[in-house]
Symmetry: D2
Subunit: 258 residues, 4 copies
């Protein structure tokens, strides 16, 4: 959209590849009931109620002609129990990005609940990694990772085994009717990707939210406050990784699930 | 969207009012056939094929808690000839904005084809008004207005008469199916507003487009180039205005037209 | 600087005028000793130890070809008691601006201690004015003004009388020797301006600082923390004003004082 | 400056190291007389009149607590022939940076003629590297490098030999007197650095300038136009490199030269 100028012309240089991705991931176990409040049926919380916060510094993005952007995604470990299929993975509670172009594409084509934030490119000082996100001048999130080390072979194997068959990114595509009342679209979706890890480290990480008022962030304060209120029972190991990501996996394209 | 955190909480301080709006408007007559190529049926070009480029510096926007943003809209004088109704007004070819929040709301609730650009706040030097728009570091539009004077009473009356019943803003709401292939939504819409003009001046204005490559602006270059190629037969009088705008007119809410 | 391209060419359109200035000013009485710690001799704290925080939204700035910028200045009521002259006015503790061009000019030509911050353009909602400032993603200042009303004639007269002969803006121009050790320049300066007020309102206002760490703002945290630690004995009436400012007053150009 | 809050507190985490630097360098031979016009005596053009344009994406900068910024430097191959010493190297004609903090430090402590620009982080698409710079919404520079390959051993050795004793970065520190008339500081300086190259590639590169008017960039247009008018006799091989840089080399600190 606008659609009347015809489809976006395809360049032979374009693809689904994000060729230079640096990510910071922190995760915590929360209370099942608290998290369940934000999963629309037929999604349910996974066996372990884990919330994952991932910052990604995306560079050399082919479909953006080699430009890039930053994102912060908040995902809930979830199971989709539909009429036709059951899928284990992560339900995207929200994804902040600092560039409108992928926000529009993600919302409209994959149903990912993307919204805008100013996301500070990660800083690294004395082995400490940090990023933050804010909007309208009011910071709402800090993410910190420190004490990084290389993962043990056991951790690498264990991580791969744990993710096997359970790394489906999922979302809820909802569009209102014209004028904002009633619904026009209501789909559960999955948007698989292919991730190549070149380097990865394990460390200790955490995130800190700041509660906001309507005056400070009138379009997102209720979401920030909901996430800030999720109880943190324990922080899980954090990771920093460098690699590349492909969002167009030919045999696993984004699709509706039911 | 995200919808699973519930609807955006309403503040009693919110409303449809944009309480401080400064606008620059330039317009030109183009060739009917050239313009017609971008109007989806059942829209057709109006009797005089006019393209209007409007920059607005929106401040004190109630639904944004008093924050603001800039926009550049390109509209075509058009008639909607539907099965049920005929509407004269302006078909929005594209609307660039420099804040993601109204882009999302406008696309999804009113069907306005909004996309992002960096829009320079207007400068005023020696009676010359200027703004520009670009993305990914590449400017694509300059708008200039000069030789401003107060409108004559005849111009005020004539302008009001000319607009009577013909100032319907209209758009095409199109959303693809999940994955991007096929359509999920396909609506013609109108999104009326109420405009209060506190001050207005008439002058000479024009716009200059820069052709772009895919490498320079991979998501919008084809639109910029299409607009840059519209023949300019003659520039019409330009206007600068200050006032306020209400996007929520109770008896004329945004709606589908057919 | 760079000086080897010759002086900046003068345009006949340039001048010292800032033709569209909107300002918010809050002020408080602090403890004399606490404030005195930041005034270099021969400056001393004025009879009433007042700190003033002024936000200005500068637009239509002639020397910037009609562009603009925002600033937040923190001033101390002070007296310069030099060998040759005594001057009453405001000593600029710090001035944040969101555009580098006036920062460079102000530091190097007038000795004003300007540094950079992201300064949110003021928002106005339901009669409440707000702005904030931050750097590297970390907000350090919120300024709020509310309950605005027109000033009484007595207030207008009293304010003019109180300022008479006491509105000299003053600063300390200090430049280190090459390499940063030792001094190369060490001047007390005054930089008069001419202010035209078109509209003004009086209300209640305050400012809130956030303490920062070196990691959050390595170039300014000590300044922010020093200002945050100044005791607030009482807030004075706040003002919002619209008007214009001339920085080049021919018979009162910026100069060294001694 | 401000100096009255005391010196900037030193963190043990701070240092002169820029730990993650990605650079693009293009260079051309120009006409000696044209270039000589911009070198203040006692600088003179080197035996081969080369102009080098370097973009650097600086990340993990220790003195900025691990944050970063981008720069575009334009250097002239030059010889300083002072009364006391003769130094071969590069005279910095101008250095644009997109963060005010290093602009202030560089101007005031090393005399580097730094000014602000919006500098697009480099994009990489299909082996083509690009960056651009602009200000006030008007792009003035594009830099392109393509056809990259690893350097031959001969090139590595030859390059090191050619630079031996000739890689002194030099500048002219000029500050006006208060008020802008007359001079307060006038020094020739050198600011050595230590560069560690982790990876480097050689390719074909060029830069394209856009002439600007005072209205488009009132503080820099004359500099951009002067650089745009330098004749390009031939483009030299371009390089892309990744590595780290140390600006505080203990036995070669920034200093005045005479």
């Amino acid at each position: 959209m606008p659609a009347h100028f015809g489809p976006r012309p395809f360049s032979p240089k374009s693809s689904g590849w994000y060729r230079d991705v640096t990510s910071m991931t922190v995760a915590f176990v929360t209370e099942r009931e608290a998290l369940a409040a934000y999963l629309p049926a037929p999604y349910r919380v996974a066996d372990i109620p884990v919330v994952t916060i991932t910052y990604a510094c995306n560079r050399q993005v082919d479909w953006l002609a080699g430009h890039g952007y930053n994102l912060v995604a908040v995902n809930a470990a979830a199971v989709f129990e539909g009429e036709d299929e059951t899928l284990e993975g992560n339900f995207t509670l929200i994804m902040w990005e600092d560039l409108a172009d992928p926000i529009l594409t993600g919302r409209e084509m994959q149903g990912i609940p993307k919204v805008y934030a100013d996301i500070t490119e990660h800083s690294v000082i004395d082995g400490h990694w940090h990023t933050s996100a804010g909007h309208f001048g009011h910071k709402f999130l800090d993410v910190n990772i420190t004490n990084l080390r290389e993962p043990t072979p056991e951790e690498v194997v264990g991580n791969a085994r744990a993710r096997k068959g359970k790394d489906n990114p999922m979302a809820w595509r909802y569009m209102p009717a014209v004028g904002g009342f009633g619904q026009a679209l209501n789909d559960a979706t999955t948007y698989p990707s292919e991730n190549v890890i070149d380097e990865a480290w394990v460390g200790e990480g955490s995130a800190a939210w700041q509660h906001l008022t309507w005056e400070q962030n009138p379009t997102q304060f209720h979401i920030v406050n909901a996430l800030a209120d999720l109880p943190v029972l324990s922080w899980l190991p954090a990771t920093v990784a460098r690699g590349s990501t492909n969002l167009v996996v030919l045999d696993r394209l984004p699709r509706r699930i039911s």
